[in-house]
């Protein structure tokens, strides 16, 4: 038998260090980084670093050898090399002052495309949708970023465009499931093609850009994510039967911009419009009415009449009965008999809570105050089928600076005022975020923006009174719950549950006590003995039997003791069983216990804090 050489197989062969990989690919480190980002190649932690590193224990980054091998034939790498040559030529031309040559070179600079890489990384569409989280978060960040010498205006512009297209799609298809306003920004969760997509959008402020951040890395990621989202959006729009890229309503962009400037045009106009019956009608209406933030119906009507815009008007509903609707048919199974069994398969139901959420706001029109961040509220409202009228847009519409307008246009302010008044007639809710309101319009419900988010997260319209203007808001909870499993809302119930148990016991105790006698309730378990003695004396003086209360107490204590004894035994048994675990199991078990204990302690601290707070509150009330 031949003697096997060391480091010729296994981990030593499977993994390759970064230096080796860079050498093998004949790339610079920067290019290697770029290709790794594009291709999604990441370092691995081999099970035994020593084996992978051929006996050395020096800290090293390992890549999977086959990943690197596949890269050898990557066309994009060839483009990188071409680019290097191009850069050399260009610098030479510029050095010689050969401007025309430089220009020609620049026009024909080697460009690469990432679409095939997207396809490679995400062989199916669902794979791509599943991995959108980071892409969206990054794009939304760059959409909010100020253009600088590091981030060109074109990049931020493109990012913003894609983000708006994404939001327009989600809002139109009503896929938004959760909204969470955190201190970092706003988290959204949408269910796209059955996949959960969560992304974070920063608040609309100029972002603070630390100086020590390498934007080349971020921009490389952004490049890939842009390509990815373009293709994903194309597919999504295609599946929804909308034209991609969507047209942009120039008038609306000039207003406040945002998603409602995107005209979601059906591919086969008539067909799609007819098919969409109720929901789509609502959408188009909402879009019409929502000049993003918007004034809109009015504006849209104008444009509609003028340009014969494709936006639907509920004009031709005549032949709707004959049309095939896209609602599902109800399958009714035959009743099963003793001999023949017929199973019932669950069917998606329009009355299911998820479906109800989609049309939660459809009867409402929201008037959004100018102090409310429109981009958040609008997106949420549109996703729930509501209509948005924005104060800021109305202001812009009514008080146009005539000097700024091109002289050809004549603004009929009276007509506009009438239009706006008509629009305001429809408003059911006013979203405002001010400490107080000077005047209120009768018939409107005044809410703070959090009402919209909480309603969306709960899937029902939460009571409005807690969210009134100037009111102290109830806490805004994460729809994903608490990491430690603490439920701030369930806390009250829990406490009540504990108390009610005690009450039941007390009631039992009461029965034993003879009828007419007065009984002093002793609530607190931990009473000073002195105090107790004092009580005893007092009650004796009053002629009340104290023993009844004490006996009750004793009983409770007994019960507790019994309970604790049982627990004790169970615990003992558990300890005995632990003895029989193997080492591996024991380690695992201890690890788990560590995690559980951490959670428990966190839960307990939160609970104690809450109890303290409640007590303080009660004390305050008492004082008052």
């Amino acid at each position: 038998m031949r003697i096997k050489k060391k480091h010729q197989a296994g981990a030593a062969r499977n993994f390759i260090t970064r230096t080796q990989a860079v050498k093998k690919l004949q790339l610079s480190l920067a290019d290697f980084r770029r290709i790794c980002i594009f291709k999604g190649i990441y370092p691995r932690a081999p099970r035994s670093a020593k084996k992978a590193n051929k006996g050395s224990t020096a800290p090293t980054t390992f890549y999977y050898t086959k990943d690197i091998q596949y890269l050898l034939h990557e066309p994009v790498i060839q483009k990188f090399r071409d680019h290097k040559i191009f850069a050399r030529k260009l610098s030479r031309a510029l050095g010689r002052g050969d401007v025309s040559d430089a220009k020609r070179l620049d026009e024909n600079r080697p460009r690469y495309r990432l679409d095939m890489i997207v396809k490679e990384r995400y062989p199916t569409f669902l794979d791509a949708v599943r991995d959108l989280d980071d892409a969206l978060s990054m794009l939304f960040l760059f959409a909010a970023m100020p253009a600088s010498d590091k981030v060109s205006a074109r990049v931020t512009e493109d990012a913003e465009k894609l983000c708006n297209q994404w939001m327009a799609y989600v809002a139109r298809e009503r896929l938004l499931r959760k909204v969470f306003v955190s201190i970092k920004g706003v988290y959204y969760e949408a269910e796209v093609k059955g996949q959960e997509v969560v992304w974070l959008v920063p608040f609309k402020f100029p972002q603070y850009v630390p100086t020590d951040i390498d934007f080349r890395i971020m921009l490389t990621f952004l490049e890939f994510y842009t390509t990815l989202l373009q293709f994903v959006l194309y597919r999504l729009y295609a599946d929804a039967g909308i034209v991609y890229p969507p047209k942009i309503d120039a008038a609306k962009v000039q207003g406040v911009g945002g998603i409602s400037a995107y005209v979601m045009e059906g591919k086969r106009e008539k067909e799609s419009l007819l098919q969409t019956s109720t929901i789509k009608k609502a959408i188009t209406e909402s879009e019409m009415a929502s000049r993003a933030q918007t004034i809109s119906t009015v504006l849209n009507k104008i444009t509609d009449h003028a340009a014969g815009d494709a936006i639907a008007t509920p004009a031709d509903d005549d032949d709707e009965e004959e049309e095939v609707t896209d609602t599902l048919d109800k399958f009714i199974a035959l009743p099963s008999t003793d001999t023949v069994i017929s199973d019932i398969i669950p069917q998606p139901d329009e009355t299911s809570p998820e479906e109800i959420v989609k049309t939660l706001f459809s009867p409402f029109t929201f008037y959004v105050g100018r102090e409310v961040p429109l981009e958040i509220v609008e997106f949420a409202i549109l996703s729930l089928g509501g209509t948005v009228v924005s104060e800021s847009v109305l202001d812009g519409y009514l008080h146009v600076d005539t000097d700024a307008l091109p002289d050809a246009e004549e603004v009929d302010f009276d007509a506009r005022q009438r239009e706006v008044d008509a629009l305001l007639q429809k408003v059911t809710h006013q979203v405002c975020d001010r400490p107080a309101l000077a005047s209120r319009v009768p018939g409107r419900i005044y809410v703070q923006p959090q009402w919209i988010f909480d309603s969306l997260n709960r899937g029902r319209l939460v009571p409005v009174d807690e969210y009134a203007v100037g009111a102290t808001l109830p806490p805004h909870l994460s729809p994903w719950g608490d990491g430690a499993g603490y439920d701030p809302e369930g806390f009250d119930k829990e406490e009540e549950g504990e108390e009610s148990e005690e009450e039941v016991e007390e009631v039992e105790g009461d029965e034993e006590v003879e009828g007419d006698e007065e009984v002093i309730e002793v609530d607190e378990d931990e009473e000073d003995e002195a105090l107790q003695h004092q009580r005893e004396l007092e009650s004796e003086a009053k002629g009340i039997i104290y023993s009844s209360t004490t006996s009750k107490k004793r009983k409770r204590a007994d019960k507790k003791l019994k309970k604790s004894a049982e627990e004790k035994q169970a615990e003992e048994e558990k300890e005995l069983r632990k003895i029989m675990m193997t080492n591996k199991q024991k380690k695992l078990y201890n690890q788990m216990q560590y995690g559980i204990q951490k959670k428990d302690t966190r839960r307990e601290t939160l609970k104690t804090k809450r109890r303290k707070l409640e007590k303080n509150k009660q004390n305050k009330k008492r004082v008052l």
Binding site: C36, Y42, A45, K66, R113, D115, P123, T124, F125, L126, D131, D134, S137, M138, M145, F180, V181, S182, I183, K184, Y187, V198, P202, F203, P206, Q207, Y208, V209, P210, I213, I217, M218, F221, F231, Y234, V372, P373, D433, R434, P449, Q450, T472, L473, H476, L477, S478, G483, P488, E572, R577, I579, M580, M581, N583, L588, Q593, K607, K609, R610, L613
Partner: protein, 838 residues
């Protein structure tokens, strides 16, 4: 000349008198030196001065006239050059002029008074120049006219000219008087007033002679002066009055009749109409067109270097090649190529430029719609970010807000070590929420994680941790087992080291550090019998009842001796059989031992006890060389082993009761022997050293197996009644269960004692075993061994018996099971023996 120019440059608006003076002086000195040429020089100078004076706009009328005459006659004068007569004439003339000058001083220019007398001495030419007397002029004219032809017309012209120049000079005087730069006058060296000028800062822009009427209002808009009659201030702080503007009608008329150079602009400086000359307009036009505004002629006539004209000296004599006259086929070919490309649409002329990014088409990338495949085994997808929790909310419940200490702790910890990268904060409303400073950084770090962080697949078990606990039958189903201490046997002083229960289960024998062996009645806990075997300093190490029923023999070891006793607690019958058994060997012992046993007999001696001991029931004493730590009987009750760990190859000795004989089974030392025991029914001897349990077949006298419990120092072991399983206890806290059919390695290693394990024991009948430890606890287990070889033994922990107190870090030292019941006896360092019952 140069000096003169310099002076002129220095004092651009200087009084011409002074300049003339100075030049006059210099010229005077020159005159003296070069007498002969003086007239010409003088005249030349005069001429120059005259010009200067014109420029400055100031000169005396008469002088002017004279000079003009001279000018006219210059050419004629030149003719006199070199002619002495003429020069003499001139000299004479000059002299006359000088003589005149003194008398004319009073009437002469005030300015010239400044010059001193020395000036007078050599300043004649000056006076000649300065003197404006008509007579002199006439003299000069006469002189000149002598040489030049008389011309009336010329005279006329001269008079005319002089009048014009007079007017000019007057105006210039008035303007000069306005000049503020002439600050004040002082008396000069010659007694004449001398103007003193302001210091001039000689930087580039200091020469602002062309900006005389500067409006100094700066950036103030002209409209601010609308209400005032003036439009600003000049450099002296005087008001610049608004120029008279015509009425609206005037301006209309102006617009109709466009005056020369009218631009329709208003000069901001002066408020008057801005007029530009033709040239200026041309210049503006050129600048607008970006043409060369300088004096360059773009339409220079070409120089035909190569032309159709035949040169006399031709550059080339070769005839013109044909290709010069024939259209190029190569070019035609190239053009056709382009034409073709345009026709085919490969080239689109004047194509609008597209951003290369926009060029990239977007299409349905996933059109072929692959079936979802299992990802590659080595692919590790990046983990998603954790979902935000309540404490990240902008309006979290109050209990999430950190307390003061928590905030401090958070601030103190390094950013890397923080559990959360933010501190929960509460905002009363959405509008008060500020931006999040670390947003970009967090995204950046996520990017870094995605491409830099090594990934490893970790299976996260999503199971109930209790499911890891082995499923065991409930202890209730495994009854009976000892659960409580029912009897405590007290009496020993110091530790109780040894315990044994007799085969009937009625009598408990214990031995301790006080050197006594005591027998207790099990049920009552009454001490029945007690014998002190050794002195206080030596302990009873081991006590074992003979397993044979009704023999009543108790073996006890203390120090180097083994005592075989017959406690007087049994009935007569038992006593008799016991005595017979013990006494039977004396006969053998008397006989000479076989040769090979000689050595061993030297090691051990079977002797009769002292009378004192004999009266107390001890019948035989075996004296060994080393301390006997443990005794173990063979099941038949004839052989027993004594283990003295320090005995080297004599560590294990097998004693035969019936023959009072001792054998040493090992020739060599096997290490420090801890325990030795006979197999329950096979002829086998189990010997435990520090690390191993060795199993010897006594019939073949060979080693069959060596168990490796993996412990550092075994303390004890026991053999399952069925013989196939062994448990060991060790000082390093572990108890191992060995299945001899499976392996030499332990089947289970149980580590649940906090201190060293002292003893382990199997129950002889019931599926129970226990371990005793220095932590004072006895752990009782259920241990079923199945006949089916495929089934592993079932071990179930049952009970931890807590009762013994730990004394000097020693707890329970020895345990023994009741032969029939599920009872357990234990002895400990606290000086007690305990009975644990179910």
């Amino acid at each position: 000349m140069a000096k003169r120019k310099l002076a002129g440059a220095k004092e651009p608006a200087a009084n011409p008198q002074t300049s003339v003076q100075s030049t006059g002086n210099q010229q005077g000195s020159k005159l003296e030196n070069v007498r002969g040429r003086a007239p010409r020089l003088l005249i030349e100078d005069e001429d120059e001065d005259n010009e200067d004076g014109d420029e400055d706009g100031y000169i005396g009328d008469e002088a002017e006239e004279a000079e003009e005459d001279e000018l006219e006659d210059e050419s004629d004068l030149e003719e006199y050059d070199g002619e002495d007569d003429v020069s003499e004439q001139f000299e004479g003339l000059l002299d006359g002029a000088i003589s005149d000058s003194e008398s004319e001083d009073e009437a002469g220019d005030e300015a010239s008074e400044g010059d001193g007398e020395e000036n007078d001495a050599d300043g004649e030419p000056l006076h000649f120049k300065e003197d404006d007397e008509n007579e002199e002029h006439e003299d000069a004219a006469e002189v000149i006219t002598n040489s030049v032809s008389d011309d009336d017309e010329e005279d006329e012209y001269l008079s005319k000219y002089s009048a014009a120049s007079e007017a000019e000079s007057l105006s210039s005087i008035s303007s000069n008087q306005d000049d503020s730069r002439v600050a004040y006058y002082t008396t000069g060296a010659d007694g004449r007033p001398r103007p003193i000028y302001h210091e001039i800062d000689p930087h580039y822009s200091s020469d602002d002679s062309d900006l005389e009427d500067m409006n100094t209002i700066g950036n103030v808009p002209l409209s601010a002066y609308d209400e005032y009659p003036h439009i600003g201030y000049d450099i002296n702080g005087k008001r610049i009055m608004r120029p008279a503007t015509g009425s609206a009608l005037d301006s209309l008329l102006d617009s109709i009749e466009v005056p020369e150079g009218w631009t329709g602009l208003i000069d901001k400086e002066s408020g008057a109409d801005l007029k530009l000359t033709k040239d200026e307009l041309e210049l503006v036009k050129k600048i607008q067109l970006g043409e060369n505004a300088g004096d360059v002629n773009p339409y220079e006539s070409t120089i035909e270097w190569f032309s159709s004209k035949t040169e006399i000296m031709a550059l080339s004599a070769a005839p013109e090649p044909k290709r010069r006259f024939v259209p190029s086929r190569h070019e035609a070919k190239r053009i056709m190529k382009i034409v073709k490309a345009i026709r085919e649409g490969r080239i689109v002329p004047n194509k609008p430029k597209v951003r290369p990014e926009d060029e990239q088409p977007v299409y349905d990338l996933w059109a072929d719609d692959l079936q979802e495949q299992q990802p590659h085994v080595m692919h590790i997808p990046a983990p998603k970010l954790a979902k935000p929790t309540n404490d990240e909310s902008y309006n979290p419940p109050e209990e999430y807000l950190p307390s003061e200490e928590e905030i401090n702790a958070w601030n103190e910890t390094d950013a890397m070590d923080r559990e959360r990268d933010y501190l929960p904060r509460k905002f009363s409303s959405l509008r008060t929420v500020p931006r999040y400073e670390d947003f970009v950084r967090e995204r950046f770090e996520r990017s870094l994680d995605l491409y830099l962080a090594p990934r490893v697949r970790k299976n996260k078990l999503n199971i109930d941790p209790d499911s890891l606990l082995p499923k065991l039958p409930s202890p209730q189903d495994l009854r009976p087992f000892p659960i409580k201490c029912s009897v405590t046997y007290r009496g020993h002083n110091g530790r109780v080291r040894a315990v044994s229960i007799d085969s009937s289960g009625l009598w408990l024998a214990t031995g301790g550090d006080d050197g006594t062996v005591r027998i207790w009645e099990v049920l009552t806990g009454r001490e029945i019998w007690k014998v002190t075997l050794v002195d206080d300093d030596e302990a009873v190490q081991s006590v074992e009842w003979n397993p044979v029923k009704d023999s009543g023999i108790l073996a006890a070891s203390a120090g180097e001796k083994i005592f075989l006793c017959l406690p007087p607690i049994f009935d007569d019958e038992t006593e008799v059989t016991g005595q017979e058994l013990l006494a039977a060997g004396w006969g053998y012992a008397a006989q000479p031992a076989p040769v090979e046993h000689i050595n061993k007999e030297q090691q051990c001696k079977w002797i009769k006890p002292s009378t004192k001991l004999a009266s107390q029931g001890v019948d035989v004493v075996i004296v060994c060389r080393k301390t006997v730590k443990q005794i173990a009987w063979h099941r038949r009750g004839d052989y027993f082993t004594g283990v003295s760990p320090e005995g080297a190859n004599m560590a294990v000795l097998v004693h035969q009761l019936s023959k009072h004989n001792t054998q040493s089974p090992f020739r060599k030392s096997k290490g420090i022997i801890q325990r030795a025991q006979f197999h329950p029914f096979k002829p086998m001897l189990y010997v435990a050293t520090q690390r191993y349990v060795r199993i010897y077949d006594l019939s073949t006298q060979s080693l069959t197996k060596a168990l490796q419990p993996g412990a550092r120092w075994l303390s004890s072991f026991d053999i399952h009644p069925q013989g196939d399983n062994v448990i060991t206890g060790s000082y390093d806290k572990r108890v191992t269960w060995h299945d001899l059919d499976l392996s030499t390695k332990p089947y289970r290693t149980l580590r649940y004692h906090a201190r060293a394990v002292r003893d382990v024991r199997f129950h002889t009948r019931l599926p129970l075993f226990c371990s005793a430890s220095d932590d004072g606890y006895i752990n009782v287990f259920h241990g079923t061994v199945y006949d089916d070889l495929l089934r592993n033994p079932l071990l179930v922990p049952l009970k931890v018996l807590k009762g013994h107190t730990v004394v000097q870090s020693l707890g329970v030292l020895k345990v023994v099971w009741h032969p029939k019941e599920a009872w357990l006896f234990s002895v400990g360092a606290d000086g007690t023996a305990k009975l644990w019952t179910s």
